[in-house]
Amino acid sequence: MTLKKNILALRQKKAIVEKGGGDKAIEKQVAMGKMTARDRILALLDANSFHEYDLFVEHEERNFGMDDKVLAGDGVITGTGTMNGTPICIYAQDFTVMGGSLGLKHARKITKIMDHALKMKVPCIGINDSGGARIQEGIGALAGYGEIFYRNTMASGVIPQISVILGPCAGGAVYSPALTDFVFVVENISKMFITGPNVIETVLGEKISQEDLGGARVHAEITGNAHFYALSEMECIEQIKELVSLIPHSNQEKAASVEPKEPSFKKNIENIIPADPKQPYDVREVIHALTDDSKFLEVHELWAANIVIGFGRLNGETIGFVANQPLYLAGVLDCDASDKAARFIRYCDAFNIPIVTLEDMPGYLPGVDQEHAGVIRHGAKMLYAYSEATVPKITVILRKAYGGGYIAMNSRHLGADFMLAWPSAEIAVMGPEGAANIIFRKEIMEAEDEDAMRQQKVQEYIEKFANPYVAASKGYIDAVIEPLETRDMLLHALEVSKNKDDFRPAKKHGIPPF
Protein backbone atom coordinates (compact mmCIF):
# COMPACT_ATOMS: atom_id res chain seq x y z
CA MET A 1 0.00 0.00 0.00
CA THR A 2 1.57 3.32 -1.07
CA LEU A 3 0.48 6.94 -0.58
CA LYS A 4 -0.61 7.08 -4.20
CA LYS A 5 -4.29 7.00 -3.29
CA ASN A 6 -3.97 9.93 -0.88
CA ILE A 7 -1.92 11.88 -3.40
CA LEU A 8 -4.52 11.37 -6.09
CA ALA A 9 -7.23 12.48 -3.67
CA LEU A 10 -5.29 15.66 -2.91
CA ARG A 11 -4.87 16.41 -6.60
CA GLN A 12 -8.57 15.95 -7.14
CA LYS A 13 -9.48 18.17 -4.21
CA LYS A 14 -7.10 20.87 -5.41
CA ALA A 15 -8.38 20.73 -8.97
CA ILE A 16 -11.93 21.42 -7.79
CA VAL A 17 -11.05 24.40 -5.58
CA GLU A 18 -8.65 25.85 -8.14
CA LYS A 19 -11.58 26.17 -10.53
CA GLY A 20 -12.94 28.95 -8.28
CA GLY A 21 -16.57 29.66 -9.09
CA GLY A 22 -16.61 27.04 -11.88
CA ASP A 23 -16.64 27.12 -15.67
CA LYS A 24 -19.79 29.22 -16.04
CA ALA A 25 -18.59 31.94 -13.68
CA ILE A 26 -15.18 31.96 -15.36
CA GLU A 27 -16.87 32.35 -18.73
CA LYS A 28 -18.73 35.36 -17.39
CA GLN A 29 -15.53 36.87 -15.98
CA VAL A 30 -13.78 36.51 -19.33
CA ALA A 31 -16.80 37.93 -21.15
CA MET A 32 -16.42 41.08 -19.02
CA GLY A 33 -12.94 41.44 -20.52
CA LYS A 34 -11.29 40.39 -17.28
CA MET A 35 -8.65 37.77 -16.49
CA THR A 36 -9.34 35.26 -13.73
CA ALA A 37 -7.77 35.82 -10.31
CA ARG A 38 -5.42 32.88 -10.78
CA ASP A 39 -4.32 33.97 -14.26
CA ARG A 40 -3.59 37.44 -12.91
CA ILE A 41 -1.30 36.07 -10.22
CA LEU A 42 0.45 33.78 -12.69
CA ALA A 43 0.94 36.65 -15.15
CA LEU A 44 2.49 38.85 -12.45
CA LEU A 45 4.86 36.30 -10.98
CA ASP A 46 7.82 34.44 -12.46
CA ALA A 47 6.91 31.15 -14.13
CA ASN A 48 6.33 28.29 -11.68
CA SER A 49 7.11 30.52 -8.70
CA PHE A 50 3.61 30.81 -7.22
CA HIS A 51 2.95 28.84 -4.06
CA GLU A 52 -0.59 29.00 -2.76
CA TYR A 53 -1.60 29.14 0.91
CA ASP A 54 -4.96 28.40 2.50
CA LEU A 55 -6.53 26.81 -0.56
CA PHE A 56 -8.86 24.78 1.65
CA VAL A 57 -10.05 27.54 3.95
CA GLU A 58 -13.85 27.58 4.27
CA HIS A 59 -16.28 30.12 5.66
CA GLU A 60 -18.17 29.44 8.89
CA GLU A 61 -21.34 31.40 8.30
CA ARG A 62 -24.49 29.45 9.22
CA ASN A 63 -27.23 32.03 8.59
CA PHE A 64 -29.17 33.01 5.46
CA GLY A 65 -28.70 29.65 3.77
CA MET A 66 -24.93 29.94 3.84
CA ASP A 67 -24.52 26.68 5.78
CA ASP A 68 -24.73 24.54 2.65
CA LYS A 69 -22.79 26.94 0.40
CA VAL A 70 -19.26 25.91 -0.50
CA LEU A 71 -17.09 28.82 -1.59
CA ALA A 72 -13.80 27.82 -3.21
CA GLY A 73 -10.95 29.36 -1.19
CA ASP A 74 -13.60 31.65 0.29
CA GLY A 75 -13.24 33.89 -2.76
CA VAL A 76 -9.60 34.87 -2.51
CA ILE A 77 -6.33 33.34 -3.65
CA THR A 78 -3.25 34.02 -1.50
CA GLY A 79 0.37 32.97 -1.62
CA THR A 80 3.98 33.81 -2.30
CA GLY A 81 6.13 33.87 -5.40
CA THR A 82 8.82 35.88 -7.11
CA MET A 83 8.68 38.77 -9.58
CA ASN A 84 11.86 39.08 -11.62
CA GLY A 85 13.49 37.28 -8.71
CA THR A 86 12.03 39.55 -6.00
CA PRO A 87 10.10 37.59 -3.36
CA ILE A 88 6.49 38.78 -3.16
CA CYS A 89 3.41 38.13 -1.04
CA ILE A 90 0.27 38.34 -3.10
CA TYR A 91 -3.48 37.95 -2.92
CA ALA A 92 -6.17 38.16 -5.57
CA GLN A 93 -9.89 38.33 -4.92
CA ASP A 94 -11.80 35.87 -7.09
CA PHE A 95 -14.90 37.50 -8.55
CA THR A 96 -16.15 34.13 -9.81
CA VAL A 97 -16.70 33.00 -6.21
CA MET A 98 -19.78 34.80 -4.90
CA GLY A 99 -18.66 38.04 -6.57
CA GLY A 100 -15.38 38.02 -4.68
CA SER A 101 -17.38 39.18 -1.66
CA LEU A 102 -15.42 39.61 1.53
CA GLY A 103 -16.34 37.49 4.52
CA LEU A 104 -14.35 36.98 7.70
CA LYS A 105 -12.36 33.96 6.48
CA HIS A 106 -11.66 35.67 3.16
CA ALA A 107 -10.28 38.64 5.11
CA ARG A 108 -8.30 36.38 7.46
CA LYS A 109 -6.58 34.78 4.45
CA ILE A 110 -5.58 38.28 3.36
CA THR A 111 -4.39 39.39 6.81
CA LYS A 112 -2.38 36.17 7.14
CA ILE A 113 -0.46 36.85 3.93
CA MET A 114 -0.01 40.50 4.96
CA ASP A 115 1.42 39.44 8.33
CA HIS A 116 3.72 37.10 6.46
CA ALA A 117 4.89 39.90 4.15
CA LEU A 118 5.60 42.20 7.08
CA LYS A 119 7.54 39.51 8.93
CA MET A 120 9.52 38.40 5.88
CA LYS A 121 10.08 42.02 4.80
CA VAL A 122 8.86 41.56 1.24
CA PRO A 123 6.45 43.63 -0.89
CA CYS A 124 2.74 42.81 -0.66
CA ILE A 125 0.52 43.03 -3.73
CA GLY A 126 -3.28 42.93 -3.47
CA ILE A 127 -5.53 42.43 -6.48
CA ASN A 128 -9.02 43.79 -5.80
CA ASP A 129 -12.02 42.42 -7.69
CA SER A 130 -14.91 42.22 -5.28
CA GLY A 131 -18.55 43.18 -4.98
CA GLY A 132 -17.85 44.29 -1.42
CA ALA A 133 -18.80 43.00 2.00
CA ARG A 134 -20.53 39.58 2.11
CA ILE A 135 -23.80 40.86 3.53
CA GLN A 136 -24.78 37.43 4.91
CA GLU A 137 -21.79 37.58 7.25
CA GLY A 138 -22.83 40.96 8.61
CA ILE A 139 -20.43 42.37 11.17
CA GLY A 140 -17.93 39.58 10.40
CA ALA A 141 -17.25 41.21 7.04
CA LEU A 142 -16.77 44.61 8.67
CA ALA A 143 -14.36 43.08 11.18
CA GLY A 144 -12.46 41.62 8.24
CA TYR A 145 -12.06 44.99 6.54
CA GLY A 146 -10.94 46.62 9.76
CA GLU A 147 -8.29 43.96 10.35
CA ILE A 148 -6.94 44.58 6.84
CA PHE A 149 -6.82 48.38 7.30
CA TYR A 150 -4.96 47.94 10.60
CA ARG A 151 -2.30 45.84 8.89
CA ASN A 152 -2.07 48.24 5.94
CA THR A 153 -1.24 50.93 8.46
CA MET A 154 1.26 48.80 10.41
CA ALA A 155 3.05 47.82 7.19
CA SER A 156 3.03 51.38 5.83
CA GLY A 157 6.59 52.61 5.39
CA VAL A 158 8.01 49.19 6.26
CA ILE A 159 7.27 47.10 3.17
CA PRO A 160 6.00 48.31 -0.21
CA GLN A 161 2.24 47.78 -0.52
CA ILE A 162 0.69 47.74 -3.97
CA SER A 163 -3.02 47.63 -4.80
CA VAL A 164 -4.31 46.61 -8.18
CA ILE A 165 -7.94 47.42 -8.89
CA LEU A 166 -9.17 44.92 -11.47
CA GLY A 167 -12.91 45.06 -10.98
CA PRO A 168 -15.26 46.70 -8.56
CA CYS A 169 -13.83 47.97 -5.27
CA ALA A 170 -16.62 49.72 -3.44
CA GLY A 171 -17.68 50.82 -0.01
CA GLY A 172 -15.30 50.04 2.85
CA ALA A 173 -13.13 48.00 0.47
CA VAL A 174 -11.68 51.17 -1.06
CA TYR A 175 -9.81 52.07 2.09
CA SER A 176 -7.29 49.27 1.88
CA PRO A 177 -5.97 50.53 -1.49
CA ALA A 178 -6.11 54.09 -0.21
CA LEU A 179 -3.81 53.14 2.66
CA THR A 180 -1.28 51.43 0.40
CA ASP A 181 1.62 53.05 -1.44
CA PHE A 182 0.60 52.62 -5.07
CA VAL A 183 -2.77 51.98 -6.70
CA PHE A 184 -3.03 50.63 -10.26
CA VAL A 185 -6.20 50.97 -12.35
CA VAL A 186 -7.26 49.74 -15.79
CA GLU A 187 -9.63 51.51 -18.19
CA ASN A 188 -13.17 50.06 -18.24
CA ILE A 189 -12.32 47.48 -15.56
CA SER A 190 -11.55 49.39 -12.36
CA LYS A 191 -14.43 50.94 -10.41
CA MET A 192 -13.91 52.59 -7.04
CA PHE A 193 -16.38 54.49 -4.92
CA ILE A 194 -17.62 54.75 -1.35
CA THR A 195 -21.28 54.93 -2.40
CA GLY A 196 -22.19 53.64 -5.84
CA PRO A 197 -24.46 55.21 -8.47
CA ASN A 198 -27.54 53.32 -7.19
CA VAL A 199 -27.27 54.65 -3.65
CA ILE A 200 -26.49 58.13 -4.90
CA GLU A 201 -29.55 58.09 -7.12
CA THR A 202 -31.89 56.72 -4.43
CA VAL A 203 -30.71 59.03 -1.70
CA LEU A 204 -29.85 62.17 -3.60
CA GLY A 205 -31.52 61.86 -6.97
CA GLU A 206 -28.24 62.41 -8.78
CA LYS A 207 -27.78 60.21 -11.86
CA ILE A 208 -24.24 59.20 -12.80
CA SER A 209 -22.65 56.15 -14.44
CA GLN A 210 -20.14 53.92 -12.61
CA GLU A 211 -17.45 55.01 -15.05
CA ASP A 212 -18.09 58.73 -14.55
CA LEU A 213 -18.32 58.34 -10.80
CA GLY A 214 -15.30 56.19 -10.10
CA GLY A 215 -13.83 54.72 -13.26
CA ALA A 216 -10.11 54.31 -13.88
CA ARG A 217 -9.69 57.63 -15.65
CA VAL A 218 -11.53 59.56 -12.91
CA HIS A 219 -9.19 58.21 -10.23
CA ALA A 220 -6.09 58.66 -12.36
CA GLU A 221 -6.89 62.22 -13.40
CA ILE A 222 -9.39 63.85 -11.02
CA THR A 223 -9.19 62.31 -7.54
CA GLY A 224 -5.58 61.17 -7.52
CA ASN A 225 -6.56 57.89 -5.83
CA ALA A 226 -4.79 55.93 -8.58
CA HIS A 227 -1.07 56.28 -9.26
CA PHE A 228 -0.86 54.24 -12.45
CA TYR A 229 -3.38 54.04 -15.28
CA ALA A 230 -3.34 51.38 -18.00
CA LEU A 231 -5.51 50.55 -20.99
CA SER A 232 -5.33 46.78 -20.46
CA GLU A 233 -4.60 44.28 -17.72
CA MET A 234 -1.41 43.21 -19.48
CA GLU A 235 -0.14 46.81 -19.64
CA CYS A 236 -0.97 47.17 -15.96
CA ILE A 237 1.01 44.03 -15.13
CA GLU A 238 4.05 45.40 -16.98
CA GLN A 239 3.78 48.67 -15.03
CA ILE A 240 3.74 46.78 -11.72
CA LYS A 241 6.82 44.77 -12.69
CA GLU A 242 8.69 47.94 -13.64
CA LEU A 243 7.78 49.64 -10.37
CA VAL A 244 8.82 46.65 -8.27
CA SER A 245 12.19 46.56 -10.06
CA LEU A 246 12.82 50.17 -8.95
CA ILE A 247 11.89 50.06 -5.25
CA PRO A 248 13.51 48.29 -2.29
CA HIS A 249 11.88 45.22 -0.70
CA SER A 250 11.61 46.95 2.65
CA ASN A 251 12.65 50.06 4.55
CA GLN A 252 15.75 48.25 5.78
CA GLU A 253 17.17 47.93 2.31
CA LYS A 254 18.16 50.05 -0.65
CA ALA A 255 16.67 49.52 -4.08
CA ALA A 256 18.70 47.08 -6.16
CA SER A 257 21.34 48.87 -8.19
CA VAL A 258 21.85 47.94 -11.82
CA GLU A 259 24.56 48.50 -14.42
CA PRO A 260 24.89 52.32 -14.92
CA LYS A 261 24.04 53.67 -18.35
CA GLU A 262 24.48 57.05 -20.03
CA PRO A 263 21.31 58.90 -21.03
CA SER A 264 20.14 58.05 -24.53
CA PHE A 265 18.02 61.18 -24.95
CA LYS A 266 19.03 62.93 -28.15
CA LYS A 267 18.16 66.59 -27.48
CA ASN A 268 20.87 68.78 -25.97
CA ILE A 269 19.86 69.66 -22.41
CA GLU A 270 20.79 73.30 -23.09
CA ASN A 271 18.10 73.54 -25.74
CA ILE A 272 15.14 72.21 -23.77
CA ILE A 273 14.27 75.28 -21.73
CA PRO A 274 13.26 78.55 -23.45
CA ALA A 275 15.11 81.60 -22.08
CA ASP A 276 11.84 83.53 -21.77
CA PRO A 277 10.46 82.47 -18.37
CA LYS A 278 6.92 82.85 -19.71
CA GLN A 279 7.34 80.11 -22.32
CA PRO A 280 6.47 76.46 -21.52
CA TYR A 281 8.36 73.21 -22.15
CA ASP A 282 8.05 69.62 -20.97
CA VAL A 283 10.20 69.18 -17.86
CA ARG A 284 10.18 65.42 -18.45
CA GLU A 285 12.65 66.09 -21.25
CA VAL A 286 15.09 67.44 -18.66
CA ILE A 287 14.59 64.29 -16.59
CA HIS A 288 15.16 62.10 -19.67
CA ALA A 289 18.34 64.04 -20.41
CA LEU A 290 19.63 63.21 -16.91
CA THR A 291 18.62 59.62 -16.10
CA ASP A 292 20.35 56.36 -16.97
CA ASP A 293 19.26 55.20 -20.39
CA SER A 294 16.85 58.20 -20.24
CA LYS A 295 14.31 56.02 -18.46
CA PHE A 296 11.68 57.48 -16.16
CA LEU A 297 8.68 55.77 -14.55
CA GLU A 298 6.19 58.54 -13.95
CA VAL A 299 3.83 58.24 -10.97
CA HIS A 300 0.48 60.06 -11.06
CA GLU A 301 1.01 61.02 -14.69
CA LEU A 302 -2.47 62.43 -15.21
CA TRP A 303 -3.34 63.88 -11.81
CA ALA A 304 -1.97 67.34 -10.92
CA ALA A 305 0.07 67.37 -14.11
CA ASN A 306 1.59 70.71 -13.04
CA ILE A 307 4.09 68.74 -10.98
CA VAL A 308 5.92 65.63 -12.18
CA ILE A 309 6.98 62.81 -9.84
CA GLY A 310 8.49 59.42 -10.52
CA PHE A 311 11.47 57.14 -10.45
CA GLY A 312 14.57 57.01 -12.62
CA ARG A 313 18.11 55.82 -12.10
CA LEU A 314 21.35 57.75 -11.74
CA ASN A 315 24.54 55.71 -11.93
CA GLY A 316 22.43 52.56 -11.52
CA GLU A 317 20.73 53.73 -8.29
CA THR A 318 17.01 54.50 -7.96
CA ILE A 319 16.20 58.20 -7.50
CA GLY A 320 12.88 59.91 -6.84
CA PHE A 321 12.34 62.97 -9.04
CA VAL A 322 10.08 65.88 -8.18
CA ALA A 323 9.83 68.52 -10.90
CA ASN A 324 7.58 71.49 -11.60
CA GLN A 325 5.93 71.13 -14.99
CA PRO A 326 5.62 74.49 -16.85
CA LEU A 327 3.71 72.67 -19.59
CA TYR A 328 0.61 72.54 -17.34
CA LEU A 329 -0.80 75.48 -15.37
CA ALA A 330 2.61 77.16 -15.80
CA GLY A 331 3.98 74.68 -13.23
CA VAL A 332 2.29 76.41 -10.28
CA LEU A 333 1.93 74.76 -6.91
CA ASP A 334 -1.67 74.14 -5.87
CA CYS A 335 -3.57 71.84 -3.49
CA ASP A 336 -3.26 68.72 -5.62
CA ALA A 337 0.36 69.31 -6.66
CA SER A 338 1.41 69.79 -3.03
CA ASP A 339 -0.49 66.69 -1.96
CA LYS A 340 1.01 64.65 -4.78
CA ALA A 341 4.60 65.73 -4.16
CA ALA A 342 4.37 65.50 -0.36
CA ARG A 343 3.25 61.87 -0.35
CA PHE A 344 5.89 60.91 -2.89
CA ILE A 345 8.64 62.62 -0.87
CA ARG A 346 7.53 60.70 2.22
CA TYR A 347 7.54 57.47 0.21
CA CYS A 348 11.10 58.09 -0.97
CA ASP A 349 12.23 59.01 2.53
CA ALA A 350 10.63 55.91 4.07
CA PHE A 351 12.32 53.64 1.52
CA ASN A 352 15.81 55.17 1.37
CA ILE A 353 15.45 56.66 -2.08
CA PRO A 354 17.37 59.96 -2.64
CA ILE A 355 15.29 62.84 -3.96
CA VAL A 356 16.25 65.12 -6.86
CA THR A 357 14.09 68.24 -7.17
CA LEU A 358 14.00 70.19 -10.44
CA GLU A 359 12.55 73.64 -9.89
CA ASP A 360 10.85 76.02 -12.29
CA MET A 361 7.69 77.48 -10.83
CA PRO A 362 6.09 80.92 -10.68
CA GLY A 363 4.42 80.49 -7.26
CA TYR A 364 1.11 79.27 -5.88
CA LEU A 365 -2.05 79.22 -7.96
CA PRO A 366 -4.18 82.24 -7.06
CA GLY A 367 -7.96 81.86 -6.70
CA VAL A 368 -10.90 81.58 -4.32
CA ASP A 369 -11.32 77.89 -5.16
CA GLN A 370 -7.73 77.17 -4.13
CA GLU A 371 -7.91 79.16 -0.91
CA HIS A 372 -11.22 77.56 0.03
CA ALA A 373 -9.95 74.10 -0.91
CA GLY A 374 -7.27 74.57 1.73
CA VAL A 375 -4.11 75.42 -0.18
CA ILE A 376 -2.59 76.51 3.13
CA ARG A 377 -3.13 73.09 4.67
CA HIS A 378 -2.18 71.15 1.53
CA GLY A 379 0.80 73.35 0.73
CA ALA A 380 2.12 72.83 4.25
CA LYS A 381 2.33 69.07 3.60
CA MET A 382 5.12 69.70 1.14
CA LEU A 383 7.15 71.84 3.55
CA TYR A 384 6.66 69.11 6.14
CA ALA A 385 7.67 66.27 3.84
CA TYR A 386 10.85 67.92 2.59
CA SER A 387 11.91 69.13 6.05
CA GLU A 388 11.28 65.73 7.60
CA ALA A 389 13.12 63.70 4.94
CA THR A 390 16.59 62.47 5.85
CA VAL A 391 17.51 60.83 2.53
CA PRO A 392 19.93 62.78 0.30
CA LYS A 393 18.08 65.82 -1.04
CA ILE A 394 19.37 67.65 -4.09
CA THR A 395 17.74 70.62 -5.79
CA VAL A 396 18.49 72.05 -9.21
CA ILE A 397 16.85 75.40 -9.93
CA LEU A 398 16.32 75.45 -13.68
CA ARG A 399 14.54 78.77 -14.11
CA LYS A 400 11.92 80.40 -11.88
CA ALA A 401 12.03 80.06 -8.10
CA TYR A 402 9.71 82.70 -6.73
CA GLY A 403 8.42 83.39 -3.27
CA GLY A 404 6.87 80.73 -1.05
CA GLY A 405 7.30 78.16 -3.80
CA TYR A 406 11.07 78.67 -3.68
CA ILE A 407 11.04 77.73 -0.01
CA ALA A 408 8.72 74.76 -0.58
CA MET A 409 10.70 73.17 -3.43
CA ASN A 410 13.38 71.65 -1.19
CA SER A 411 15.24 74.88 -0.50
CA ARG A 412 18.45 75.06 1.52
CA HIS A 413 16.28 76.43 4.34
CA LEU A 414 14.28 73.18 4.53
CA GLY A 415 17.45 71.13 4.70
CA ALA A 416 18.55 70.51 1.11
CA ASP A 417 21.98 68.90 1.00
CA PHE A 418 22.92 70.30 -2.39
CA MET A 419 21.49 73.44 -3.96
CA LEU A 420 22.44 73.88 -7.57
CA ALA A 421 21.21 76.50 -10.03
CA TRP A 422 21.48 76.92 -13.75
CA PRO A 423 22.56 80.38 -14.97
CA SER A 424 18.97 80.82 -16.17
CA ALA A 425 17.69 80.60 -12.57
CA GLU A 426 15.65 83.48 -11.16
CA ILE A 427 15.54 83.27 -7.40
CA ALA A 428 13.44 86.11 -6.04
CA VAL A 429 10.67 86.92 -3.63
CA MET A 430 8.24 87.21 -6.51
CA GLY A 431 8.07 87.68 -10.28
CA PRO A 432 9.77 90.88 -11.52
CA GLU A 433 6.49 92.55 -12.62
CA GLY A 434 4.85 92.04 -9.26
CA ALA A 435 7.92 93.10 -7.32
CA ALA A 436 8.44 96.26 -9.40
CA ASN A 437 4.78 97.22 -9.01
CA ILE A 438 5.14 97.14 -5.24
CA ILE A 439 8.64 98.49 -4.69
CA PHE A 440 8.44 101.27 -7.27
CA ARG A 441 4.72 102.00 -6.88
CA LYS A 442 5.32 105.69 -6.18
CA GLU A 443 7.79 106.23 -9.02
CA ILE A 444 5.48 104.45 -11.46
CA MET A 445 2.38 106.40 -10.36
CA GLU A 446 4.17 109.73 -10.49
CA ALA A 447 5.78 109.13 -13.86
CA GLU A 448 4.43 110.91 -16.90
CA ASP A 449 4.34 107.64 -18.83
CA GLU A 450 3.39 105.01 -16.26
CA ASP A 451 3.85 102.06 -18.59
CA ALA A 452 7.30 103.16 -19.71
CA MET A 453 8.37 103.70 -16.12
CA ARG A 454 6.95 100.31 -15.11
CA GLN A 455 8.82 98.61 -17.94
CA GLN A 456 12.03 100.37 -16.89
CA LYS A 457 11.65 99.35 -13.26
CA VAL A 458 10.76 95.76 -14.19
CA GLN A 459 13.90 95.64 -16.30
CA GLU A 460 15.97 97.04 -13.45
CA TYR A 461 14.56 94.41 -11.11
CA ILE A 462 15.24 91.61 -13.59
CA GLU A 463 18.86 92.68 -14.00
CA LYS A 464 19.48 93.06 -10.28
CA PHE A 465 17.47 90.21 -8.78
CA ALA A 466 16.14 87.75 -11.36
CA ASN A 467 19.29 85.64 -11.38
CA PRO A 468 20.98 82.98 -9.26
CA TYR A 469 23.80 85.20 -8.03
CA VAL A 470 22.04 87.02 -5.18
CA ALA A 471 21.14 83.67 -3.58
CA ALA A 472 24.63 82.35 -4.40
CA SER A 473 26.23 85.37 -2.71
CA LYS A 474 24.46 84.42 0.50
CA GLY A 475 25.41 80.76 0.25
CA TYR A 476 21.81 79.62 -0.26
CA ILE A 477 22.96 78.15 -3.58
CA ASP A 478 26.12 76.04 -3.47
CA ALA A 479 27.02 76.29 -7.11
CA VAL A 480 25.80 77.83 -10.35
CA ILE A 481 26.35 75.17 -12.98
CA GLU A 482 25.98 74.81 -16.73
CA PRO A 483 23.10 72.58 -17.80
CA LEU A 484 25.54 70.12 -19.39
CA GLU A 485 27.28 69.66 -16.03
CA THR A 486 24.05 68.68 -14.27
CA ARG A 487 24.23 64.89 -14.55
CA ASP A 488 27.84 64.77 -13.42
CA MET A 489 27.05 67.07 -10.49
CA LEU A 490 24.11 64.86 -9.48
CA LEU A 491 26.22 61.69 -9.66
CA HIS A 492 28.88 63.41 -7.57
CA ALA A 493 26.38 64.69 -5.00
CA LEU A 494 24.92 61.20 -4.63
CA GLU A 495 28.39 59.73 -4.23
CA VAL A 496 29.22 62.27 -1.52
CA SER A 497 25.96 61.66 0.34
CA LYS A 498 26.22 57.87 0.32
CA ASN A 499 26.75 57.70 4.07
CA LYS A 500 24.56 60.66 4.93
CA ASP A 501 23.55 60.65 8.55
CA ASP A 502 20.92 63.13 9.63
CA PHE A 503 19.34 63.23 13.06
CA ARG A 504 15.82 64.12 14.03
CA PRO A 505 14.59 64.69 17.57
CA ALA A 506 13.10 61.56 19.13
CA LYS A 507 9.32 61.48 18.90
CA LYS A 508 6.47 59.04 18.64
CA HIS A 509 5.49 60.60 15.35
CA GLY A 510 5.05 64.07 13.92
CA ILE A 511 1.73 65.69 13.17
CA PRO A 512 1.78 66.56 9.48
CA PRO A 513 -1.14 68.66 8.19
CA PHE A 514 -3.04 65.67 6.75
Binding site: L204, P277, K278, P280, P326, L327, Y328, L329, V332, G431
Partner: protein, 111 residues
Amino acid sequence: METEKPEYVDFAVTARKYKTLLTTKYKNRKQWINPSPYDIQSIIPGTILEIFIKEGDIVKEGEPLLILEAMKMQNRIEMPFTARIKKINVEVGVRIPKDSLMIELEAVDVE
Protein backbone atom coordinates in the same frame (compact mmCIF):
# COMPACT_ATOMS: atom_id res chain seq x y z
CA MET B 1 7.44 63.69 -29.59
CA GLU B 2 7.70 66.79 -31.81
CA THR B 3 4.27 66.66 -33.37
CA GLU B 4 2.07 69.70 -33.94
CA LYS B 5 2.38 72.59 -31.52
CA PRO B 6 -0.15 72.41 -28.69
CA GLU B 7 -2.61 75.24 -28.14
CA TYR B 8 -1.06 77.19 -25.30
CA VAL B 9 -3.22 79.64 -23.39
CA ASP B 10 -2.34 82.74 -21.38
CA PHE B 11 -2.35 81.87 -17.70
CA ALA B 12 -2.01 84.67 -15.15
CA VAL B 13 -0.05 84.07 -11.98
CA THR B 14 0.21 87.35 -10.04
CA ALA B 15 1.33 90.13 -12.39
CA ARG B 16 2.57 87.95 -15.23
CA LYS B 17 0.94 85.80 -17.89
CA TYR B 18 2.51 82.46 -18.80
CA LYS B 19 1.98 80.33 -21.89
CA THR B 20 0.82 76.89 -20.79
CA LEU B 21 -1.80 74.14 -21.09
CA LEU B 22 -4.78 73.70 -18.76
CA THR B 23 -5.68 70.45 -17.03
CA THR B 24 -9.17 68.95 -17.35
CA LYS B 25 -9.75 69.37 -13.64
CA TYR B 26 -8.79 73.04 -13.81
CA LYS B 27 -11.07 73.65 -16.79
CA ASN B 28 -13.99 71.98 -15.00
CA ARG B 29 -13.49 73.74 -11.68
CA LYS B 30 -16.47 75.49 -10.17
CA GLN B 31 -16.37 79.25 -10.39
CA TRP B 32 -16.91 80.90 -7.05
CA ILE B 33 -19.98 83.09 -6.84
CA ASN B 34 -20.39 85.51 -3.98
CA PRO B 35 -23.55 84.20 -2.29
CA SER B 36 -26.38 86.67 -1.76
CA PRO B 37 -27.86 86.67 1.75
CA TYR B 38 -31.30 87.02 0.13
CA ASP B 39 -31.01 83.61 -1.58
CA ILE B 40 -31.84 80.55 0.52
CA GLN B 41 -30.01 77.65 -1.12
CA SER B 42 -29.97 73.95 -0.26
CA ILE B 43 -26.71 72.99 1.40
CA ILE B 44 -27.41 69.30 0.81
CA PRO B 45 -29.52 67.46 -1.80
CA GLY B 46 -32.83 66.17 -0.49
CA THR B 47 -36.63 66.23 -0.58
CA ILE B 48 -38.92 69.09 0.50
CA LEU B 49 -41.17 67.63 3.19
CA GLU B 50 -43.10 70.65 4.35
CA ILE B 51 -43.28 74.39 3.59
CA PHE B 52 -44.41 76.76 6.34
CA ILE B 53 -44.53 80.06 4.48
CA LYS B 54 -46.02 81.58 1.33
CA GLU B 55 -44.92 84.32 -1.00
CA GLY B 56 -45.37 87.81 0.39
CA ASP B 57 -45.12 86.73 4.04
CA ILE B 58 -42.90 88.72 6.34
CA VAL B 59 -41.03 86.14 8.37
CA LYS B 60 -39.05 86.82 11.52
CA GLU B 61 -35.48 85.70 12.05
CA GLY B 62 -35.32 82.12 13.36
CA GLU B 63 -38.81 81.09 12.20
CA PRO B 64 -39.02 77.88 10.18
CA LEU B 65 -39.24 78.13 6.39
CA LEU B 66 -39.36 74.49 5.35
CA ILE B 67 -38.24 70.97 6.15
CA LEU B 68 -35.62 69.51 3.82
CA GLU B 69 -35.24 65.78 4.29
CA ALA B 70 -31.73 64.59 3.43
CA MET B 71 -29.77 61.49 4.48
CA LYS B 72 -32.82 60.38 6.57
CA MET B 73 -32.58 63.59 8.62
CA GLN B 74 -35.32 66.18 8.66
CA ASN B 75 -33.49 69.48 8.43
CA ARG B 76 -35.44 72.51 9.60
CA ILE B 77 -34.42 75.48 7.44
CA GLU B 78 -34.86 78.72 9.37
CA MET B 79 -35.14 82.37 8.38
CA PRO B 80 -31.64 83.90 8.57
CA PHE B 81 -32.96 87.42 9.29
CA THR B 82 -36.33 89.13 9.21
CA ALA B 83 -37.45 89.71 5.61
CA ARG B 84 -40.26 89.22 3.11
CA ILE B 85 -40.64 86.02 1.08
CA LYS B 86 -40.27 87.19 -2.50
CA LYS B 87 -40.45 83.87 -4.28
CA ILE B 88 -40.68 80.18 -3.42
CA ASN B 89 -39.05 77.99 -6.04
CA VAL B 90 -39.81 74.57 -4.51
CA GLU B 91 -42.91 72.58 -3.62
CA VAL B 92 -43.63 69.76 -1.21
CA GLY B 93 -42.46 66.36 -2.41
CA VAL B 94 -39.90 67.72 -4.85
CA ARG B 95 -36.36 66.34 -4.77
CA ILE B 96 -33.71 69.03 -5.22
CA PRO B 97 -29.97 68.92 -5.79
CA LYS B 98 -27.36 70.69 -3.70
CA ASP B 99 -27.06 74.48 -4.12
CA SER B 100 -30.52 74.93 -5.61
CA LEU B 101 -32.21 78.23 -4.96
CA MET B 102 -35.18 77.32 -2.76
CA ILE B 103 -36.44 80.68 -1.56
CA GLU B 104 -35.72 84.29 -2.54
CA LEU B 105 -36.07 87.02 0.06
CA GLU B 106 -36.44 90.78 -0.08
CA ALA B 107 -35.67 93.38 2.52
CA VAL B 108 -38.40 94.98 4.63
CA ASP B 109 -38.28 97.95 6.95
CA VAL B 110 -38.61 96.59 10.46
CA GLU B 111 -39.36 98.83 13.35
